[in-house]
């Protein structure tokens, strides 16, 4: 296991370097003069040039790149015009809110999505299955920002049960979590249903039933174990995408996470901050992927000896 982890983590710097390079190229080729933007709309050409020198944007691209990479190594993400300095502490301070939201969404997915899929499979082509499958299609089709708006309008404005925005207590987490988790719940439920149906047809289930286990018991004792393998994979893969989905939901709910900060950074054209946040997203994505692989080995003993 340790060797596996070491190998996995060793690939991170390489991938990150690739991402850093691609990001650098993208940000250097987007239209708009960064120095002119920082200097403001009324700046004269000489003022813009002064800002350019101050930000080091007058240096050759190779030198800018080398400075950028060497800065990242020591945790210096560059000069963010928003925070007048290294944006890293500000990005890190936003991370817990985003992680809490993602964790809550994944938790909700496990609690609702998997049981819903199993129930739908167990009652295949009967009323519970139809209801669940219909809900799944609905949830997949609804964009999360629209669902979020509906939830705010209903739970917060009409019923007054929940705060309509911000992070002012655990209750604030409910609406963004529902909005973010809806699609994932539907995905997991649909996939679980498919896998369970497939497993139920297999020989070991027939054997279990033949030795006298009830259908429910066979399902719980034997089928679920095998269903976990693909389910963990899907939830794990989607967890990375939750970070991206949280951008929209965080903005809608004014949730003080990293996605909200990303949109702010874009709106004030703080390239350094955008780059820093994308970096954090990338690293989080990679770490999540490794975590999924570790988890995978727990639920699938066959891999442990591979």
């Amino acid at each position: 296991m340790i060797g596996f982890l070491a190998r996995r983590f060793a690939t991170i710097p390489l991938v990150v370097l690739g991402v850093v390079t691609i990001l650098f190229i993208i940000f250097k080729s987007v239209p708009g003069d960064e120095a002119a933007f920082v200097a403001g709309a009324t700046a004269t050409q000489s003022e813009i040039e002064a800002v350019r020198v101050q930000l080091g944007l007058d240096r050759p691209l190779v030198e800018q790149y080398a400075r950028h990479v060497s800065g990242l190594v020591v945790g210096d993400f560059g000069y963010s015009t928003t925070f007048r300095g290294n944006p890293l502490p500000h990005i890190i301070s936003r991370l817990p809110a985003t992680l809490a939201l993602a964790a809550a969404a994944i938790g909700l997915t496990i609690l609702i999505g998997i049981p819903a899929g199993v129930v739908a499979a167990a009652y295949r082509n009967r009323l519970p299955d139809y209801l669940i499958s219909l809900s799944v299609v609905g949830l997949l089709a609804i964009p999360n920002f629209w669902l979020g708006m509906l939830l705010i309008a209903w739970l917060s404005v009409d019923l007054g049960l929940l705060p309509s925005f911000g992070a002012s207590g655990p209750a604030s987490l409910v609406i963004p979590t529902l909005a973010l988790a809806a699609r994932l719940i539907a995905l997991v439920a649909r996939m679980t249903r498919g896998v369970v149906i497939e497993e139920l047809r297999k020989d070991y289930v027939r054997t279990a039933r033949a030795k006298g286990l009830s259908k429910g018991l066979a399902l719980r004792r034997h089928v679920l174990r095998n269903v976990m393998i693909p389910t963990v994979t899907v939830i794990g893969l989607q967890a990375g995408y939750l970070l991206g989905g949280s951008v929209v939901v965080e903005r809608l709910c004014a949730w003080p996470g990293i996605g909200d900060l990303l949109l702010t950074a874009v709106s004030v054209r703080d390239y350094t901050l955008v780059q820093g946040i994308v970096m954090i997203f990338v690293v989080s994505f990679l770490v999540i992927n490794i975590a999924v692989e570790v988890l995978y080995r727990f639920v699938n003993p066959r891999l442990r000896y591979a």
Partner: protein, 534 residues
Amino acid sequence: MKRRQFLTGAAGAALISTLPTGAIRAWAQSASGVITFGQSTAVLTLDPAHGAFTGYPGGYEASLLLFDRLLDFDADMKIVPQLAESFAMSEDLKSCELKLRAGVTFHDGTPCDAAAIKFNIERMMNKDINTTNRPLWNPIAGADIVDDKTLVIRTSAPFAQLPNTLAHGSGAIVSPAAIQKSGEAGFAQNPVGAGPYMVEAFNAGQELKLKAFDGYWGDKPGASGVVFKFIAEPATRINAITTGAVDVIDSVPVQLVGQLGGNADVEVVRKPGLRPIGLAINLTRPALADVKVRKALNLAVPVATIAEKVFFGYAKAPDSPLAFDAIGHKTVGETVFDQAQAKSLLAEAGYKAGSDGILEKDGKKLTLSLYVPEGLFPGDVAVAEIVAASLKQVGVDAQITKIEKGAYWDHLRQDKANLAWDLGMFGFNPSNASGTYHLASLFKSNADDNTKPDVWNIGRYRNAEVDALLEKADSAPEEAARMDALGKAQELVWADAPYLWLQINENVSAVRKPVSGVTVMPIVFTNLRAARKA
């Protein structure tokens, strides 16, 4: 099975604990005496220097409560005293003597005396420290202390707008001791001023908590505290004020104002802005150098209808190159929609309809490239589409090019050789409310029309008479003479039609009872300085 049951139970309990357990509305509602302001832009930095208050306008709105300035604008953009009890411009307009208020201290206890003001003026003069708002600060040459309560600010040339600079947001007076303590880099996150409210907690980009400053020299602040919360999404802001989670919101989209209409607790506050939107006309194109063509373009577009239909009446048609509340604004004309007259003017200019209905002259079609940004100005693309359709009705073919907003300024402000547009949507917001500053920024002849424009004369307008009048408007000793010159300049510019003038949008905010005293300034800002909460 036991373990499994336990896990199920634990998960259930965890879920239930996240659910509401009673008086949740109380959480959402702001504390009594504290005003909560849901802002459309985040407060990021609070330093008049180093790029000024960001984001715009959120940072400026917070600065209005945190900092006092030497002078202030009242609701009608008239200049009134603040930290200075009085001021007097010299005869030659090259200096201004200010009498300072006695006994004023900053939030950290430092006295706000002549030495502190001198420190501030010199700090803002320094180009390395203060990188933005340079046109407002460049003319200032220095500050001299006469005595503890008297200060003279000198300019290198006659500068009638000096009081406007001092009243501008960037004229916020900061505590020299706090700069010393936090350093030039750290002040923006640890601001200390002499305003009615002081910082209690600041989390840049999320929330700024202010509390009333007990030692304030003026009237006692109307609330025990003010909290600025960043809520970017308009629908979320409206929901927040509907539920009472916030007391004030800004930037209500005109199409959503209706949602607040039925709510007796919420009052909509509106004020026309200082930024007239228009299409800059590229005068380097031969066809557009003809004033008849430019006038015809203006006659062909139903601006009043745009204001009424696109902006639901929350916009007005202009009557001058300046917005209604700009200092020195004069009504010099009216926006007329008369396509028949537009057609006859175009015919006079020598244009005849071709086989496809598009006008042509000497075999060249009157095809114009219309540049418009996406999301930079209110309803920008929708307005451009209406303009293009209207121009088509008089035989002018306007082709819309949409530009990503980050790159838009680069396209507008170009060398003459690289000007790709014939019509470019633009709006200038004179942050010091000065009409002279506005008109000079847009219509003063460029030193060299071939290079990038000096300021924002992007269409290369050139009228020696206007230049002379603007010079006079800036430097005549008598205010009446300055305003008279500015009025004449507006008449000339309006008659020359270097723009296709469009609408002037209103700034719309909303306030929830029992909060009162919130004003919306023509320059975008929602001002809570005089706000009260019972």
